[in-house]
Symmetry: C2
Subunit: 234 residues, 2 copies
DNA sequence: AAAATATATTGCGTATACAAATTGTATAAC
DNA sequence: GTTATACAATTTGTATACGCAATATATTTT
C-alpha cells in the first residue's frame, strides 16, 4: 500500500467518522496517534487536516490541535436559512445539466441507499444518503454553489445522526418516504424537468426539516386547555 | 519579522496578486522561488498553497505545481447563474445581522473605495471594492453561504480586472454609480431594511453585469438593415 | 493556605534531508 | 525526418529532527 493510498485512506476515514459523528463535533484529534495508525509521518497527516479544514469538516486553530467542526445552535439556525435555497438551486441545475453517466451513478447510489435501509445501521444509511446528494451536487456542476452545498451536506448528515438516532421505530416510514422522493428526484433529473426537480427539492427538505424539528422542539402535549394551572405550585 | 508574519505576508501577496490578475488565471507558481522571496521553507509555503486551494484561489493537482484557478467560459456561465441569488441572500442577511462595529468597518471600507476612485489604479480599486463586499459577507455571518459568496467575490474581482481594464474613460461614471450604490447599501443595512438591501443587491449586480456583458458580447453595430450583403464575397 | 513565579513537559510550527515521480533531452531506430 | 525509448534533471511528496511557544506543575513567597 503506497503512501498516497494511506493518505486517502486517512482522508476517507476522517470524513466518514465526522459525517457519522463517530467523531463528535468539538472532538480534539490526536495527530501522532493518526500518524501511527495510518503509517504516515506528520507532514502528510497535517496536509489532510488542512484539506478537511478547507472543506468544513475540521477547525484548525493556531498552536492548537485540530478539532472536529462544531455544530452549535448558531450553525443550526444558519443551516435552516441556507438549506432550502441552495438545495433548490442544486436540484434545478442537476436536472438541467446531468449527464447519462452521472444519472447511472445516481441510480447506483440510490440502490445502495435502499440496501442500507434494509440491513444497515444509522451510520451506513447516513453515508449512503450523503453520497446520493453529493452526486446531485456533481450534476449541478456549478463551481460557486458547490462549496456551500457540500458544507450543508456535512451538517445535514451530522444533524441527522444526532437527532433521529434514538427513535428508530417511527423513523422507518419517514425513511421510506425519503427513498421514494429520491426515486422521484431521479426521474425528474432524467426527464430534465427543472421545475419538478425544484419542487421535489422543497418536498425533500420539508420532510427532513420536520424530522429535525420534532427533536429540537419537543412536541406539545395534546391536553385540553386549563388542565394545567397558570401559576404552577412549586 | 517572525516566520508567522512572513507566512501571512505570502498569503496576502498571493491573494492580492490573484484578485488583481497580476497572477493570471492558469499561471503556474514556482514553489522554491516563493520560498526564497519570502524567507520560508517549503513546508509553510505549501501550507499556504493548500489554504488558498481550499478558498478557491489556487488549484492543486497531484504531482504537479500549484496553478492559479482558471477562469474559463464555463465558470463565467456558472458565475452568472449563482451570483444574483447569493448576493441577494448575503445582503438581506447583512441587513438583518450587522453589528455596529461591522457597520463602522463597512463605512471605512467605502471611504477607502472612494479614495481609490480618486487617485488609484484599477488594481487598488478592485481590492477596495472586494474588501467592501467581504465585509457584507462577514455581516451576513452565515457559515453555509459564506464559502460560495467568497468564491464569487474572487472571480468577480478577476472578471472585472480582465474586462473593464482598457476603457477607463466611460468606466468613470459607472464607478461613481457603484459608489453611490455602496452608500445606499450601507444605509439599508444600518436601517436593518432587509427588503431594500435585497433590492440594492439586485441593482448592484445588474450594474456589474451590464459592464461585463459589454465586453463579453461586442455591441452590435448600429447600421441600417441591408448594408451588408448576405453572401460576403471573400 | 493562597498566590505567584519558576521550571518542566507537551506539542505545534518550521527546516532540512531523502525518496518518488514527472518532465525534458538526447540518441537510436524506423 | 519522425517517432520511440532511455537516461538525466528538475520538481513534488514524505519523513525526520529541531526550536519555540503554550500549558501544566511544583516550589517558593507572602
Amino acid at each position: 500500500m503506497s503512501a498516497r493510498d494511506r493518505k486517502t485512506a486517512l482522508f476517507d476515514h476522517l470524513k466518514r467518522a465526522i459525517l457519522t459523528t463517530a467523531l463528535r463535533p468539538g472532538y480534539d484529534l490526536d495527530e501522532v496517534a493518526l500518524c501511527a495508525e495510518f503509517g504516515l509521518s506528520r507532514t502528510p497527516v497535517r496536509e489532510v487536516f488542512r484539506d478537511l479544514d478547507g472543506l468544513g469538516y475540521l477547525d484548525l486553530r493556531d498552536n492548537r490541535g485540530p478539532r472536529v467542526a462544531e455544530l452549535s445552535h448558531t450553525t443550526l439556525r444558519d443551516f435552516f436559512l441556507a438549506a432550502p435555497m441552495i438545495y433548490g438551486a442544486i436540484l434545478r441545475l442537476a436536472a438541467r445539466n446531468a449527464t447519462p453517466a452521472q444519472i447511472d451513478s445516481l441510480k447506483g447510489a440510490q440502490e445502495a441507499f435502499r440496501a442500507s435501509l434494509r440491513d444497515k445501521g444509522p451510520a451506513e444509511r447516513t453515508l449512503a444518503n450523503n453520497r446520493f446528494h453529493e452526486i446531485t451536487g456533481e450534476m449541478a456542476g456549478n463551481t460557486y454553489l458547490l462549496p456551500s452545498f457540500q458544507r450543508l451536506l456535512i451538517d445535514h448528515a451530522r444533524i441527522g445522526m444526532t437527532f433521529y438516532q434514538p427513535q428508530t421505530n417511527e423513523m422507518a416510514s419517514k425513511l421510506s418516504d425519503a427513498s421514494a422522493q429520491h426515486d422521484a428526484i431521479i426521474a425528474a433529473i432524467e426527464a430534465g424537468d427543472e421545475g419538478r426537480a425544484a419542487t421535489l427539492a422543497e418536498d425533500h427538505w420539508n420532510l427532513s426539516r420536520n424530522q429535525i424539528e420534532l427533536f429540537v422542539m419537543p412536541t406539545a402535549l395534546d391536553v385540553p386547555m386549563g388542565s394545567f394551572s397558570r401559576s404552577s405550585p412549586a
